[in-house]
């Protein structure tokens, strides 16, 4: 017992000591860091806005190598699908080596966190880092975090850096989706971050239908909203799964109403209603889609479908994952979703039922005016740079190299494979700063369909070859190739990108008219207004008086909506 006591005390003392010692150590370290920074300064100290005067003369090379090499700090948000070859890691891989060799850039990760979902671990860690001012030089953020950093006046104006150092190809990609991506990172005319552009068209709403049921019940493919109602009714009442039980429903919905699966976006678009989007009214002003009269009409129809039992009576408590149970269990054959649905959750339906077949269709209209999908901004991540950073242009150089390696004219299949796909690893994930051509997925579909038809695979790039092999595995009829079915339903000849291609050819995809940073009142009131909207809309669908919509419009305006509209129009006028 005595011994124990002694040991305990030693432990406690040690702990206390460590706290004190490491606290001192820390402050010392900090000073050192500061000193190093000063030593590295190359005469651009304090230039803030344009910290890019390089000593090198002559034309700027967007892929120029740093000599001596530089070290840049950033943070990484990864997830569990990041896989590495033996001996490699996020700190040491094909990209980190290439960046060192070709650009003379060494990456230093201040922290790495796993979990990149919305509101997930990565976002939380970043929120904490931002709030406590514990930031690296190059910061990957979402739009809300970007706005915070801009307001705190911590970021460097990248306008000139972008102009000088972005390669023509990078600039092209940045603008492939229209000017919105860059505009969304522009504050008071200054570019404060580089967007990681995705693809807005990839988010366009479409109708997904089980065609095996369609054939069985002898129903036509949907051309109008009326067709959709007929299909929904038939799927509910005519026992499409043939089990003799009335256990199927017409249309799948999730409790969040919006989103990429079982949402109401595509349905509403058919009524020319555009929830949570900014649209131009007849007078040329921007107005908020959720409070327009078209919404009321669409909600009334949804209410009718709900009353008839064509919508799951309990959709109000089911999120996307829970709503997907109906699809996977073969109890629903129609929903409004997006191009990626076959990979989740429809593939599980295929696994449970070999005969299930899903097909996407363009959204349809309730009247003679064609229906148009409206999409939001396709930027998930922005790369911002702290003011005192020495080499802000390194960000652009990395991005230049990324797009050049991926889709540039100088890249080779070997080079592509080395940095994107080799060994079955998704190597492109290793590079911290990236941006993606908006048409990439559409091109995959076009090229892959072409190759299937012609049998000539020679023109495919490695990513396309990979997708094609998945599809071919499924088409060969082998067991356990349902995942290939998913790819076939997306990229194949009749895949969902056929629908998107149609949208693109008809030039029918509408963009949100507002793509600036969130306005002041938005930041303050958005959560409240969105919650109110969700509550009112859900209740209307489930049977509340449709007149509550008018009350919602009044409330929305009163509780900040009018102010937001004002701010948005001021932004529009200044654009």
């Amino acid at each position: 017992m005595k011994k124990m006591r002694g040991r305990t005390w030693v432990t406690v003392l040690l702990v206390m000591l460590m706290v004190v010692v490491s606290a001192c150590g820390n402050s010392g370290e900090k000073k050192e860091e500061g000193g190093n920074k000063n030593a590295n300064t190359q005469g651009s100290e304090g230039s803030g806005g344009t910290g890019n005067e390089e000593k090198t003369e002559g034309p700027i090379d967007p892929l120029g190598k740093y000599d001596p090499p530089i070290e840049i700090s950033t943070v990484r948000i990864v997830n569990d699908t990041y896989k590495y070859a033996e001996g490699e890691s996020i700190e040491n891989n094909a990209w980190t080596r290439t960046l060192q060799e070709k650009l003379g850039i060494t990456l230093k990760n201040k922290w790495v966190v796993s979990g990149d979902g919305p509101g997930g671990q990565g976002e939380q860690k970043m929120n904490v880092s931002i709030a406590s001012g514990d930031l690296p030089d190059f910061i990957p953020v979402n739009s809300r975090q970007l706005k915070q950093l801009v307001e705190a006046d911590l970021l460097m104006d990248l306008t000139d850096v972008y102009e000088k150092y972005a390669s023509p190809f990078t600039k092209e990609i940045m603008n492939q989706d229209g000017p919105n991506a860059l505009a969304s990172a522009t504050f008071d005319g200054k570019l404060m971050a580089i967007p990681n552009t995705g693809s807005a068209m990839d988010g366009a709403a479409m109708i997904w239908i089980r065609t095996d049921w369609l054939k069985k019940l002898n129903l036509p493919e949907p051309k109008t909203m009326d067709d959709v109602f007929k299909i929904s009714e038939a799927f509910t009442t005519q026992d499409p799964d043939g089990n003799g039980k009335p256990d199927t429903i017409g249309i799948s919905l999730n409790k969040d109403l919006y989103g990429g699966y079982a949402s109401i976006d595509g349905f509403l678009n058919g009524y020319h209603a555009y929830p949570r989007q900014w649209i131009k009214d007849s007078s040329g002003k921007l107005v908020f889609g959720s409070v327009q009269p078209e919404m009321k009409q669409a909600l009334a129809k949804l209410q009718e479908l709900y009353k008839k039992g064509q919508i799951d009576r309990e959709f109000g408590v089911k999120d996307g994952g829970k709503a997907a149970e109906f699809a996977a269990a073969g109890r629903v054959g129609l929903h409004f979703g997006t191009m990626s649905n076959p990979l989740w959750p429809l593939v599980d339906n295929k696994k449970n039922d070999k005969n299930a077949q899903w097909q996407s269709y363009p959204i349809v209209s309730v009247d003679d005016k064609p229906a148009q999908p409206r999409v939001g901004l396709a930027v998930g991540t922005y790369y911002a740079v702290l003011k005192e950073t020495k080499n802000p242009e390194a960000l652009l150089k990395v991005i230049n190299l990324f797009v050049e390696t991926g889709w540039g004219e100088t890249t080779t299949p070997e080079n592509y494979a080395e940095h994107f796909t080799k060994g079955g690893y998704e190597r492109h994930k290793y590079i911290p700063f990236q941006t993606w051509p908006a048409r990439k997925n559409l091109d995959i579909h076009l090229h892959v369909s072409e190759a299937i038809k012609s049998g000539d695979k020679s023109k495919l790039n490695p990513e396309e070859t990979d997708n094609l092999s998945q599809i071919e595995a499924f088409l060969s009829g082998k067991e356990g190739t349902e995942l290939g079915w998913g790819y076939e339903r997306i990229f194949g000849i009749d895949g969902s990108f056929k629908t998107i291609n149609q949208y693109v050819n008809d030039n029918s995809i509408l963009m949100s008219e507002f793509y600036g940073a969130p306005t002041q009142t938005m930041v303050e009131k958005d959560a409240t207004l969105q919650k109110m909207e969700l509550e009112v809309f859900s209740k209307i669908i489930m049977g509340d008086s449709i007149d509550n919509f008018d009350k919602f419009v009044t409330d929305w305006k009163k509780l900040g909506g009018d102010k937001i509209t004002e701010e948005v129009n001021a932004w529009y006028a200044a654009k």
């Binding site: 006591r5 432990t11 269990a329 997006t338 990626s340 959750p345 492109h428």
Partner: protein, 294 residues
């Protein structure tokens, strides 16, 4: 303790067994469900077909979760955390609870001290100030960041000080008579007498350290330093389907994988479930009878 079993007593005992058994089943069923899901095929689980028995039995989700080297690393971190954290927790709980269990007339400052501790349950500075504190004290990205901020579990202290007060005063006084100081009285008389209470608190502290994941995520700078629960939180990806970046198509197939999630829950809780029965022995024993009946 012999007693005659009256009819009423028998009836009560019978009912009692039935009621408690039903209650236990009610608590067991959800875990069985989770277990069944973890051994089912992903497609069946997604379709909501799994109830209390696996559908299309497979151990693939366990292979998925266990296959990663990070899993073993994180178990190591957790074991380290529990070992260090539990020791510090228990030692400090005892050291703090003992003085605070004294009467005011013997230890006038106790009330002040008590409130200093109790206030920390009620007022918290919030995550960001705590993060800054951890950073300034230089323990960021070390095991100490998981252990020191909650070194004194005040709730447990309050429980323990009440147990201490419930102990017969005569024992302590006798020890003082024998010339023992506070230290010896505490470790040689009080602590051995408090086995049930200490076992309870050990369980709480262990479960607390075992289950907490948020601090690991916030205070660790690399996934290789995550404790088990923080790591498991990242195994299953929840993705915003409305914003799938073009590069993420492949990971879609892993979205919302319920079977893997179920496996992770079970693996996460298993060690505690195994340890629990051992600690229970102490709950049952109660105070060492001999020493009470002087």
């Amino acid at each position: 303790m012999v007693e005659q079993l009256t009819l009423g007593r028998r009836l009560f005992v019978g009912t009692n067994y039935v009621v408690l058994a039903l209650l236990s089943i009610l608590c067991l069923v959800p875990l069985i469900h989770v277990l069944a899901v973890s051994f089912s095929s992903s497609a069946a689980a997604t379709a909501g077909l799994v109830k209390l028995w696996p559908v299309e039995f497979t151990i693939s989700s366990y292979q998925f979760v266990l296959a990663k080297p990070a899993f073993l690393t994180s178990i190591g971190v957790t074991l380290q955390r529990v070992a260090i954290g539990l020791t510090i927790n228990m030692v400090l709980t005892i050291l703090v609870a003992y003085p605070l269990s004294k009467e005011v007339n013997k230890f006038p400052m106790r009330t002040v001290y008590v409130w200093i501790f109790v206030v920390t349950i009620l007022f918290q500075g919030g995550l960001i100030p705590l993060y800054m504190t951890v950073k300034y004290t230089g323990i960021m990205d070390t095991i100490w960041a998981l252990v020191l901020p909650n070194a004194v579990p005040v709730f447990n202290v309050v429980l323990l000080l009440n147990f201490f007060r419930g102990l017969p005063k005569e024992l302590e006084e006798a020890a003082f008579m024998d010339g023992a100081g506070h230290w010896r009285t505490l470790w040689q008389i009080i602590v051995p007498l408090s086995a049930p209470a200490l076992a309870t608190l050990t369980l709480f502290a262990t479960v607390g350290h075992w289950n907490s994941w948020f601090d690991g995520l916030i205070f660790m700078d690399s996934p290789s330093h995550y404790p088990l629960q923080s790591y498991l939180q990242t195994v299953v990806i929840n993705r915003d389907l409305s914003l799938i970046s073009s590069s993420d198509m492949k990971s879609l197939a892993e979205v919302n994988d319920r079977t893997a999630k179920a496996a992770q829950i079970f693996l996460g809780a298993l060690p505690i479930l195994l340890v629990y029965p051992f600690l229970q022995r102490f709950f049952m024993k109660g105070i060492v009878l001999g020493s009470v009946k002087e």
